[in-house]
Amino acid sequence: MKLFKTLAVSAAVALASTSGAATAGTLQDVQARGELNCVVTTGVAGFGAPDDSGRWAGFDVDFCRATAAAVLGDPNKVKFVPTTGKTRFTVLNSGEGDLLYRNTTITMSRDADLKLSFLGVNYYDGQGFMVPKALGVTSAKELDGASVCIQTGTTTELNLADYFRANNMNYEPVTIETNEEGQTNYLAGRCDVYTTDASGLASTRSTFDNPNAHIILPEIISKEPLGPAVRQGDDEWADVTRWVLNVLIAAEEAGITQANIKGHAAKAGNNPDINRIAGTEGDFGSMIGLDKQWAVRAISAVGNYGEIFERNIGVNTSLGLARGLNAQWTNGGILYSPPVR
């Protein structure tokens, strides 16, 4: 009798636990947890890498911190989940990560087939090739028969195959999993060419002992709009994260900086655009489930888009990237945020 009772009860418990709890939205989950799980790369200098003390820093990392500041009030309440090209989407889709900021190209198949929701573009990039100067190559069309180091699971892999086939050239693909592996193989001479997004090339080159011994060839063979992503199906969370990205770009356009945001938030001024972002006019925060100071927290944590760019990957850093396409539309680039109103 006792044995029967134990078996019956355990079976009932097992079946009952299968019903599962109803899932709340991601915004509520993050606020309840008190920490934002951000899916990032394993280490790309300038974009997302842990520094010597283990603290994460970089272009994409700063956007994560801005989101955490807007949603949780503290830019340090972020848990960074490093992923490879292979694991990034699975980690996001399984719920281990809430938000992905990982130099990820927006493509149709990723958006529709992989069930992701892209929130916008935070860096307009393109794929390029890096070769040692000693090879004497000046154009990508001279690379017939070369060995090319290529990261698996990326759009660069597909673009590489297309480019070489279209130009009737052969190549030997040397597949690598991470950026670090690629650097080792490239420097050891296992491959002649390293290919990835031009920003990634600049970042990799900046970590070499002798960056000037390597050149990035002029051909940019693809469009690589890099942007953040969340899971499909949670529109509320997508709105929150999309508008954090947009407001950082809009802030630069309106002239709001990390230094002057607190001043703007204290007193309404003459510029309605600045007032709306600083929360002194209207209540846009409540539209996405946050309070009036959402943008103030984000901007005072990391600054506007231009400040994030210059701090991590700008011309004065070791990557030395010019704004180029990533300048504001009023400044010759194509960065164009919808208005906060």
Partner: protein
């Protein structure tokens, strides 16, 4: 509770007996456990399918016919970036088979050698092999693979400064080991036929020599004559036919060598690392097998006047094989499965193609992983079946 509960006079109900009659109770418990296990698996599979359907992914293998859009550096069959995913899977399977078979052969040879050396009475050889085996066995195989690959890629020169041998026919670089490729002319068929004739002759001759030995005690040098038939005879025919082979030499054109046969550093690193790792385990198995044979067998053989080499061949090894073969088949399975670490150094095996790049680009994790699991299961079952057959052949036939 006491043994049987049918103490009271009246016949107890079937429900009572299901749980209190000792034999029936054990059956009942087994049935309930089976039901729980089945329910559990059903729940898991159902959960997965429901979740996949909820996020709109479904479970279908149609993606296998889409173009793969990526290139593979080592392909033993025709393949380019317009080939479908199933062709990429086949390329991966062939690469896995290649490194598994090559690894099994090399590790068996090295393992048996090390095992016998470990039993040597020479103190230095004994100790050196002991240290080697302990080091290799205690370091995870992934580290071995990375180490060998690192050595190959970093110490060998780039193609421009290639190490040359035999006046420009063999080249050693960190992109690969290049040898001339033999192109066979039609006359090569004669050599092939001679080879087959040699094998046929050897099989017949072995039977004939045994018959003569049983009848008259005269021992023919079977090994020498077999070698002569299988190797020497085709070589003679080869030269008589006018050396019907052309060599395609590897030449440095631009970035890399073109032409000839190439052994890529990824394949070589994986092969050597896996073989040396498994050879250490096989060495211990061989040592255990040989030491399991009581020394009385050797002494008795010597007492009968059988030479030491003949003793090893006819008395010790056949008995030792019975002890060696079962654990040996586990090691062969290990090599096959450890080859899945290939992706760590960029060798395109089944896990790297269909389970890696295809999985990532199409987003079909469940289907790709199912394929990879099924392939490894098939390999393992084939190897096990073969080893079991071989084991049966070697078994001690008792009366």
């Amino acid at each position: 509770m006491a043994a049987t509960e049918t103490s009271s006079g009246s016949n107890p109900s079937i429900f009572y007996r299901l749980f209190f009659d000792k034999e029936l109770r054990s059956v009942t418990i087994q049935v309930i456990t089976m039901a729980l296990i089945c329910a559990f698996f059903f729940f898991i599979v159902n959960n997965a399918i429901t979740n996949l359907e909820t996020i709109g992914k479904g479970y279908s293998f149609n993606f296998l016919w889409d173009a793969s859009n990526y290139d593979i550096n080592q392909t033993l069959i025709e393949y380019d970036s317009r080939s479908p995913h199933w062709r990429a899977a086949i390329v991966g399977i062939i690469n896995t088979l290649l490194v598994a078979v090559a690894g099994i052969i090399l590790s068996t040879i090295v393992g048996f050698l090390l095992g016998v050396l470990r039993l040597s009475s020479n103190w230095l050889i004994n100790r050196v092999v002991y240290v080697y085996i302990e080091y290799v066995r205690n370091v995870p195989v992934l580290l071995h693979i990375l180490l060998v690959h690192g050595i190959v890629v970093n110490t060998l020169p780039i193609p421009k400064n290639a190490l040359m041998a035999f006046d420009g026919t063999l080249f050693l670089t960190n992109r690969g080991f290049y040898t001339p490729k033999p192109l066979f002319e039609p006359a090569m068929w004669a050599v092939l036929i001679a080879f087959v004739i040699g094998i046929g002759f050897t099989i017949w001759f072995k039977g004939y020599a045994k018959k003569i030995q049983d009848a008259t005690g005269k021992i023919y040098p079977v090994l020498l004559i077999s070698l002569g038939a299988i190797i020497l005879f085709p070589i003679i025919v080869f030269f008589l036919a006018g050396v019907p082979v052309n060599l395609e030499y590897p030449e440095l054109k631009g970035f890399n060598f073109k032409g000839g046969l190439v052994l890529r550093p990824e394949f070589v690193a994986l092969w050597i690392a896996l073989s040396l790792y498994t050879a250490a385990f096989i060495a211990e198995i061989v040592r255990a097998g040989i030491q399991a044979i009581s020394h009385g067998q050797t002494e008795a053989a010597f007492a009968l006047g059988i030479k030491p080499s003949r003793t090893m061949q006819l008395v010790i090894i056949p008995q030792a094989l019975r002890v060696i073969i079962p654990p040996l088949s586990s090691q062969y399975l290990n090599i096959t499965k450890n080859s899945s670490l290939a992706i760590a150094i960029g060798y395109m095996d089944i896990v790297a193609t269909i389970g890696g790049i295809s999985l990532n680009q199409t987003g079909r994790e469940m289907e790709c992983m199912t394929i990879v699991l099924a392939i490894y299961l098939a390999f393992s079952l084939i190897i096990s079946a073969f080893m079991n057959w071989y084991n049966k052949r070697m078994k001690l036939v008792e009366r």
